[in-house]
């Protein structure tokens, strides 16, 4: 197989990375070698073998669905690159150019703060720690 730089660019786009031509070229060559090496797994007969995605031996533990407050808004916003004190960024800090995507609609569905319509008085729970 020969991976082409334009294929790398497509995958990079999926991963929200923007690589310059030199890097696309270099990655394409390296990916060729690495993926060819990974393909040696193809020679192994794994018929009927159940995939093992995690070595965890126990059932996923359950708990009561109750909110446990463990952090304050100021803490969560403390590391934000930009904030208006309530949310992660202010509209006036960003100039939304007329691009291929309808900016206002995209903003609404992607803005993290829209998930949490908190008022100034109410603190909200931290996102659950992912496994």
């Amino acid at each position: 197989m020969t991976i082409r730089p334009d294929q790398v660019a497509k995958v990079a786009k999926l991963a929200k990375l923007r690589l310059d031509d030199a890097r696309l070229e270099r990655f394409a060559g390296q990916m060729d070698d690495i993926l060819a090496y990974m393909e040696t797994l193809g020679a192994l007969d794994t018929t009927g073998v159940e995939p093992l995605y995690s070595p965890v031996g126990h059932e996923t533990p359950m708990r009561q669905d109750v909110v446990t407050k463990n952090c304050a808004r100021e803490q969560i916003l403390a590391n934000a690159p930009a904030t208006d004190g309530q949310f992660f960024y202010r509209a006036q800090d960003r100039v939304i150019a007329a691009g291929p995507h309808p900016a206002p609609a995209l903003r609404r569905c992607r803005r993290p703060a829209s998930i949490i319509r908190a008022t100034a008085e109410r603190d909200f729970s931290c996102p659950r720690s992912p496994p």
Partner: protein
């Protein structure tokens, strides 16, 4: 090096507990050692001398407490682990000013036990690397020869312990990142069973592979740290609901290896291992036999597929885990971004280094439609076969033994142009993370050709860290001790 900093952790802990030295003295000695060695070693990304001294003085005022198993002991923490109010960069520019507002669970436990956290140790960016050359900030040197790498990705942790900057350091191991730098720097390093130590507060690289563990100068020291940081944590759903044995008690009084059967896998003792590595490891096995251990051959037949399996799984998981770094809530945000798409792309592309970008791209590729079954699902199937190899081998032996790395520490810059060659050097450490079993590396001497430390691994059955720690303690005591590192 001051006398205090050449002590082992258990020795200094004893002196602290008996008030022969104060916590402030132990911390001051480590800080002096850090000041003397850091210009050449470059092991640290963050040092808070004032906070450490304040913590030590507070401990001295309150006095030693029997229940605090690490009272007054200065330690360092790999920069992938969240320490409250200290920067956690993961060796990356994308988290350059990130300051967590909480402690990882293992850090809470260290503090409760009375340990003093000196600062954060250097690492390969997002734990991706085997030499610490992928850090976006600096390349840590090996204290035995500063022209050589300390190993990675926990290179800062390993170098700091070997150089006497601290008595123990926390590292993380996803494909060997505790064990290989421990080997390269002549220390003990243990990766616990998956689920033994909580990952809450660890910035995730490969969620089904990552474990936090200690690097220290002896097996007793490693056992002391592990006893404190291990244990079930409701905040980590993969944390095992299991009692933690008292590892130190399990090691107490152990003087021989009678009754122990050690398995030597054919695949770890064959071709591709440097002569000096084989010599040192074979000599250690002979010592184990003299101590009463029985040695049997075993086989881990899927070893040749381990590197490919690991990198598919790890890169896939990494591509998913690193999606959260998007310039929105924390970390670097590209100021010139106009659209939301640009915000994501430019922040990530400018914030992540090349190795991280490479792994994200490959991980995305192997998970993409049309390739998922051929790569990721296939690798998961082979992963089960690799785990089964170990379970079968453990029917014939109590612990499995082999070299940690095919070679000792290599010169800085030697492997950076060929990523695949770097990946292949993980051949002996990688299978353990896929299987989720515990393993450690212990120093077994200095290589005859290079004069650099040689490490040997011991693997154990799930949750049997006691067996490998005990074996490492007895064997370590019987082998000639390493001198102090000559390079700094």
């Amino acid at each position: 090096m001051s006398e205090i900093t050449t002590l082992t952790l258990t020795q200094v802990r004893d002196k602290l507990a008996h008030k022969e030295i104060k916590a402030a003295e132990a911390v001051a000695a480590c800080l002096a050692r850090i000041e003397a060695t850091e210009p050449a070693l470059k092991a640290l990304l963050h040092l808070d001398a004032q906070a450490a001294m304040d913590a030590a003085k507070a401990l001295d005022t309150a006095g030693p407490q029997a229940g605090k198993r690490l009272w007054g002991v200065p330690v360092l923490v790999k920069d992938a682990i969240c320490v409250k109010d200290a920067p956690t960069t993961c060796g990356s520019r994308i988290l350059e000013n990130f300051t967590p507002f909480y402690d990882a669970s293992c850090i809470e436990k260290l503090r409760e036990a009375g340990a003093v956290i000196l600062g954060k140790a250097n690492m390969d960016e997002f734990a991706m690397g085997s030499s610490t050359e992928n850090s976006a900030y600096k390349v840590t040197a090996n204290p035995w020869d500063v022209s050589k790498v300390p190993g990675g990705s926990s290179g800062g942790s390993a170098a700091a312990v070997a150089a006497g900057q601290c008595y123990a350091a926390l590292g993380t191991d996803t494909g060997g990142s505790i064990r290989q730098p421990a080997a390269f720097c002549g220390t003990v390093g243990i990766k616990p069973t998956y689920g033994r130590v909580s990952r809450y507060g660890l910035v995730a690289y490969g969620s089904s592979l990552d474990q936090i563990g200690p690097l220290a100068r002896t097996a007793d020291d490693a056992a002391a740290i592990l006893s404190v940081i291990a244990g079930h944590d409701p905040k980590d759903s993969t944390s095992a609901p299991r009692e933690v044995p008292d590892f130190e008690a399990a090691l107490a009084g152990a003087t021989d290896l009678a009754g122990l059967t050690i398995g030597l896998p054919d695949e770890y003792w064959g071709e591709g291992v440097d002569d000096e590595v084989r010599q040192s490891c074979a000599a250690a096995v002979d010592t184990a036999k003299r101590l009463g251990a029985k040695v049997v051959p075993v086989s881990l037949p899927h070893t040749p597929y381990a590197v490919a399996t690991y990198y598919i799984v790890a890169m896939a998981e990494a591509s998913s885990n690193l999606a959260r770094f998007d310039g929105v809530r924390y970390g670097y945000r590209a100021p010139e971004a106009q659209t939301l798409e640009e915000l994501y792309e430019l922040s990530r592309s400018k914030g992540f280094g090349p190795e991280v970008q490479r792994r994200i791209v490959i991980g995305t590729y192997v998970l993409s439609a049309g390739y998922y079954d051929a790569y990721y699902r296939k690798a998961a199937q082979v992963r089960r076969l690799i785990r089964q190899d170990f379970l079968t081998a453990f029917e014939k032996c109590d612990v499995i033994c082999g070299p940690t790395s095919p070679f000792a520490a290599f010169p800085i810059g030697q492997m950076t142009d060929d990523p695949l060659q770097m990946y292949l050097s993980d051949i002996f450490t990688i299978s353990l993370n896929l299987a989720g079993l515990p393993g450690l590396s212990m120093p077994v001497g200095l290589g005859q050709a290079s004069g650099m430390p040689i490490g040997m691994q011991l693997f154990g059955p799930a949750f049997d860290e006691a067996a490998i720690l005990r074996t490492a303690k007895v064997l370590g005591n019987a082998l000639p001790p390493l001198p102090q590192p000559a390079g700094i």
